[in-house]
Subunit: 444 residues, 2 copies
Amino acid sequence: MAPVAAGGGDREIGVALLGLGNVGAGVVKLLEDNAAAIRARLGARLVVRAIAVRAPDKKKRLVEVDRALLTTDIEATLSRPDVDIVCELIGGDAEAKVAVESAIAHGKHVVTANKLLLARHGTAVFAAAEDKGVDVYYEAAVCGGVPVIRVLREGLASDRVENIHGIVNGTSNFILTEMRDKGTPFAEVLAEAQRLGYAESDPTLDVSGGDAAHKLAVLCMLCFGAMLDSDAIHKEGIDTLDPRDFAYAEKFGYVVKPLVIGRDHGRAVEARVHPTMVPARWLLADVDGAKNALYVTSYALGGSMYYGAGAGMMPTAMAVVSDLIEVARNLMAKAAGARPTRRHRALAPKPLLPMTEIRSRYYLRFSVADRPGVLGQITTILGNHEVSIAQVIQDSERDPGHDSGATVFVVTHEAREGDVQAALAKIAALPIAAAPPRLIRIAE
Amino acid sequence: MAPVAAGGGDREIGVALLGLGNVGAGVVKLLEDNAAAIRARLGARLVVRAIAVRAPDKKKRLVEVDRALLTTDIEATLSRPDVDIVCELIGGDAEAKVAVESAIAHGKHVVTANKLLLARHGTAVFAAAEDKGVDVYYEAAVCGGVPVIRVLREGLASDRVENIHGIVNGTSNFILTEMRDKGTPFAEVLAEAQRLGYAESDPTLDVSGGDAAHKLAVLCMLCFGAMLDSDAIHKEGIDTLDPRDFAYAEKFGYVVKPLVIGRDHGRAVEARVHPTMVPARWLLADVDGAKNALYVTSYALGGSMYYGAGAGMMPTAMAVVSDLIEVARNLMAKAAGARPTRRHRALAPKPLLPMTEIRSRYYLRFSVADRPGVLGQITTILGNHEVSIAQVIQDSERDPGHDSGATVFVVTHEAREGDVQAALAKIAALPIAAAPPRLIRIAE
C-alpha cells in the first residue's frame, strides 16, 4: 500500500501526524478524498510520511492507514529529513509542548489544533518558531473549521478590532439551545448530549467555560496583540442556569448564549466567559445547536460575523489541512517561516481588566419573601449603588423549593460590575432574601 | 507635507493609487489612522507614492492629500521604480483593464476592487500576472470588507464547495428589507434609499441584479474553478416585486432576499441572481439592511456563513489595505508572485446550466377570475407538468387593478424550472387568467 498522498503532482511535501484520533483520522481522510483538488490548487502533493500513535496495534481506527506509517517514536518522527510539516494533534498541555518545541528545533513547520498549548505557552512557541524561521499555523484551535484565525490575521490585517463576542464551545451551545427549546434542566440535556456524542464523558472543560477561556486567550492574542494569563480569565459555567431564566430572558427580549467576550481597553484587556443574554434581534442569538460563531466589531469594517461547525472530525480536519496547504504554499515560494503573517512580533503581556471594573447590563433574579415593600427595598439598594433599572417584573408564583415567596426579575441599564456585586451582597443579607440572588450579564 | 505613510518601519513599500473616489479616500485615511498597527504587524511601512486622478485641481475631496502626489498620467505612475503595488480603484471595464494589464507588464503587483474587470477579463488578467510573476489580490471585489475571497481561497483551501447562497448587493437588500418592514412599494423605497445614499442616482446595476451577477461570477471562479460568461448569468431584478408577495412569504414561513445562487454540477455550473424566498429559520433570512452575507455549503465543513458590510468607504478600504498588507508580506519574504495561492491555474471555461434545467421550489401567484373551478384548473395543469403542490391559499379579496377577481398563492415541492414555465404558460393562456402569473423561487 502506498503512503497516504494527495494528488499526483511532481513535488512532494512530507507531513508527519502526531496523533490519530478523531481529527487525525479526518486529516488522513480529507487528504485522500480531496487529493485531486488539493494538487490542482497547490501544484504539489501532500504526503503523510509517518503517524505517531500510542498504540500502533490498536485494531479499531476511524480510518484505514498503512501500518508501516505508524510509530510510537515521536522524536524519530520529528527528525526525519523527508518530513517538512509536523501536525500536532495530541492535545493537552505538557506532551504537546515538548513535541512542538522539538519539531521547531528540528526546523519543521508546525500545524496544530491545540488551543490549550497556545493559550498557556503561545509566547514561547512563537518565539522559538521565529528564531528558527519556521511557520506555526493553528486555524483549528478556535471555532473548528470556521477560518476565524485567517480572518483576523489576514482579512482584517489593516483594521483595529474593538471587541469580540463569540460562541466558541459547541457543547455548551447545544445544551443551552435544548434547555431553551424543550424547557429541560441542565442535567437531563447533558445526559442526552453525551448519548448523542455532543458532549464528552467528562464534560467539565466544556460546560465550565475552561475550553472557551483558552480559545478566548488565543483570540485576544490575535485581536489585541495581548498575551493574557488564560487561567485567570473570569469564567462561569452553564451548569447553574435555571429554566426560569430562559423564560424570563424571552420575556425581556433576550436569548441566553454561552459567550466569550473580549474588549481592548488599551492598558488592560477585558476577557470573560459566562452565559450571557443577547438581544433576540442579534445574529448571534440565532446561532443554535452545536454551531460556533464569532462576531467582531472593528474600527473600519464595523460588525462582521463568521459562523459554522466549531467541532467534529471533518470540519476540524478541514482547518488543519487548509493550514498544511498554507505552509506548502509558503514552501513552494521558498517563503516558509519568512512571511510576517503573524502578529506575534507585536505581542506583549497585558493585564486582565478586573471583573469589578467591567461595565455591562445585568439580569438579576431575587427570591424573596412575598411581603409588601420588598420591591422598594431591592430597588432602593440598587439605586444607592448607581445601578439604574430598565425593567422589573415581580412574579408571586410559588418559588420552587420554598414554601411561599415571590421572585423579582430586574433588567438594569449599563452599570459597573463592582457596584452591582456590592448591591447584591447587601440585598442577599436582607431578612426578606430567601435565596442568593442570581446574576446573568447582558450583552448589548 | 510628507507622503502618506503607514508607520515608521525601516523598509518602505511603495503604493500607487489609481482613483481617489470614495474607496481611494478610505484607503488613504486607513493607511494614516492604523499606521502604527500596520507597521507593527508588517515590519514595514506602506507609502503612497502617487495617486492618479482625472482632475487634480478638484477642490472637494473626501480626504486631504499632498497635492504633489496627484497626477493625471497613469502610464508614468505605473512605470515609477519606487512603486511596488498598484491599487486599481477606477472601476468599470475598459480603462481599468488597460491600466491593470499595463501595471502587470511593468512588473507591479496589483490590488483591485473591480468585480466587473475580473468577471469579464479574469482569465486574461490572471494569465498575464502568472506569466509576469506578480500578485493580483481582489478581496474588495465581493462583499466589500467581509473577507470572503480569503475564506474561499485559503480558509477552505482543502475543502470542496458544493453550493453558495449569497446576499452580495447591499442596495437591493436594503430596499427589500424596507419593503417588508414598512409595506412600502419599490419606487418609494428606492427614492428614500437614494436620499440616504444607499442607492446610486442610476440604480440600474444594483436593482437589476447586474452587479450581483459580476460578483457571482467571481465567486464561482473561486468555488468551482469555473470561468463563466458573466453576462449570460440569469438575472431578475427586485423592481417587479409586489408588497403582497412579502405578506404571503411570511404566511408561508419565508423571507424575500436578493440572492445569488451558485452550484457545481460537474460539467456545468448553475448560477442565477433573483429575489428568492428563504426559510425564516435560515441565518440568511436575518441578514437585513445594507449588509451582505455569503452562506457556503462544502463537503468537509458543511454550512458556514460570512457576514458584514458589503459596501461603504471604510469597509471597502479595509479590504483593499488588507490586500496591500498581504502583498507586502509576500514582498518581505521575497515571495510576491511566487505563492500558488490562486486557484487560477485550475480555471477552465464552463457552461452555465440552462435555467430550464435547474430544480427549485416555487412560490406562484395567479390573478384569476373569482369563479368556481379555478383552483382545480390551475392545480390540474401544474400536476400534468410534474409540478407537485405543497401549500395553496386562495384569497378572494379584490385583486388591485382589477374590478373583481381572486388571487391564488401556491408553494410547490421541488420541480424542474422548464416544467414550471410550461405550466405557467398554459395557465396564462386560460380564459380565467386576469394577469400574467408571478413566480418567485424558493431556496430550501
